[in-house]
Amino acid sequence: MTDQEATVVVEKPVRAKGDVMASVPRPKEVSPEYVKTKKYRIGTKEGSPRQNYTVAGICFPLYIERLEEQGGETVRSREYGVVIDITDPEVEAIKKAVSRRVVREEGARRDIHEIGSVGYQPNPNDVPMADFLYMVPVEEGQSILQGPPQ
């Protein structure tokens, strides 16, 4: 006896009129229209005091590496920024979080401070974090391998 013969199908279930499952409402959350994401190329500009930033749960890297295996070797090719799919509410959350943050260079320190948080004191060296980041919509057909925006 083969594995397949072990299961005997008596009657194949079919979609029939009156099937209760057919009347169960489909949640809107599973429809493709419910969460519309857009492609953005995001990252950190060159010359920033930090190489990568994380804001609202999203990393803005200066660059990432694409890995390929060629002849047993791991070959790494560098890409500036990263392309991500995010929703409009996530974009708004990022904008809100970035607007509260500043980067401060003093001596050997390159610190991030959050305006309004415990211990924050305004400083003439504070530069808005938004000056160091970019977030560009990727349109259909647009190259995503170009260099980082200046």
Partner: protein, 330 residues
């Protein structure tokens, strides 16, 4: 270029010596803490060290009768870490050393060597915070998977097989309840990490070994409230939820070690698994610390200039392994 120690005139006339060791500080506690979150001093024997690893091996698959057994390969990955030289010299005028009434100039100068103990910690935080600092590593290394140390995706897919990767979106640090929510989210995230075959990555035994939490000391009160206070408010939103309840983290028996550090200045915080198979950040040592001391007896330049010195040098570096034991809350 000579840059001697500036010795105040009082130090070579008369001073009480009670405070000579004002800046004599210990790094013992820092080293012990660092060892929980960083792989320290991996031996290196070349200029650039190459590391490699295999991804997860395949798991068993049902073998139907009469069919050929299925086979599946798995990938390997390699990455490299270049060693750098680290050095510092402290110089002083021979007369200043001889006349120094505290008799501490030499001892004080030798503290520069003791500060080598901070080198790995500074490299650790440079990588953790992604800080550009030409006095330390010239660039922040990426993880071997090609993404940054913290990333939601790697190689075009969710990192470690879970949405969000090793970044947890913060609930803020305004309340202990918000922090407890995030630590539970992070612990849940660790438990949902997958190996490269889509199977659970961490065994319970790893999770039970506890975590180190690194955060901005400006938030000390709220973090102590979240993890050390036995009874506190569940939330701050409604009157009923202000009822005092026992601490969920303590009740969960997760061993938590708090590390407030001034190197973190914003409300981002970090959670490192003590039992992680490999730590996310590691240091490698090519040449250990060496000390050289130049005086008239052994140095032409000192005989020419009366400028004595002590100098230290070492070679090594720091790198990033697969960061499955580290989560950023930001």
């Amino acid at each position: 270029m000579p840059n001697p120690v500036i010795t105040s005139s009082q130090l070579v006339t008369f001073v009480k010596t009670a405070f000579w060791d004002m800046y004599q500080i210990s790094y013992d506690a820092m080293r012990a803490r660092l060892g929980l979150v960083m792989e320290l001093a991996i031996p290196s024997d070349r200029r650039t060290e190459n590391y490699g690893y295999f991804e997860s091996a395949p798991y068993p698959k049902r073998w139907a009768q009469g069919e050929t057994i299925s086979s599946k390969n798995f990938k390997s990955n390699s990455f490299s870490v270049t060693n750098y030289t680290w050095g510092r010299r402290v110089e002083w005028d021979k007369s200043d050393r001889l006349d120094d009434q505290t008799k501490s100039l030499l001892q004080r100068s030798r503290d520069a060597g003791a500060h080598w103990a901070t080198l790995e910690e500074r490299q650790f935080f440079q990588i953790l915070l992604s800080t550009v600092d030409q006095d330390l590593l010239p660039a922040i290394p990426l993880a071997p998977d090609g993404a940054a140390l913290f990333a939601t995706t790697a190689g075009g897919a969710a990192r470690f097989g879970v949405t969000g990767g090793n970044i947890v979106t913060t609930s803020g640090v305004a309340s202990a309840a918000a922090i407890r929510t995030d630590i539970m989210t992070a612990m849940s995230r660790f438990r949902r990490f997958q190996d490269t075959e889509g199977q659970p990555l961490w065994d319970d035994a790893v999770m039970e070994q506890g975590v180190t939490i690194m955060f901005n000391p400006a938030n000390l009160e709220v973090f102590n409230g979240a993890f050390l206070q036995r009874v506190n408010a569940q939330a701050i939103t409604t009157a009923t939820s202000n009822a005092g309840v026992t601490n969920l983290v303590q009740d969960s028996n997760i061993p938590v070690r708090l590390w407030p550090t001034q190197r973190i200045t914003d409300n981002t915080w970090y959670i490192a698994l003590h039992g992680s198979q490999k730590k996310a950040i590691f240091s490698q040592t090519r040449e250990p610390l060496q000390e050289y001391y130049a005086v008239s007896e052994n140095s032409d330049s000192v005989r020419d200039t009366r400028t004595e010195y002590v100098q230290w040098e070492s070679r090594g570096s720091a790198g990033v392994a697969v960061p499955y034991g580290l989560i950023q809350v930001a």
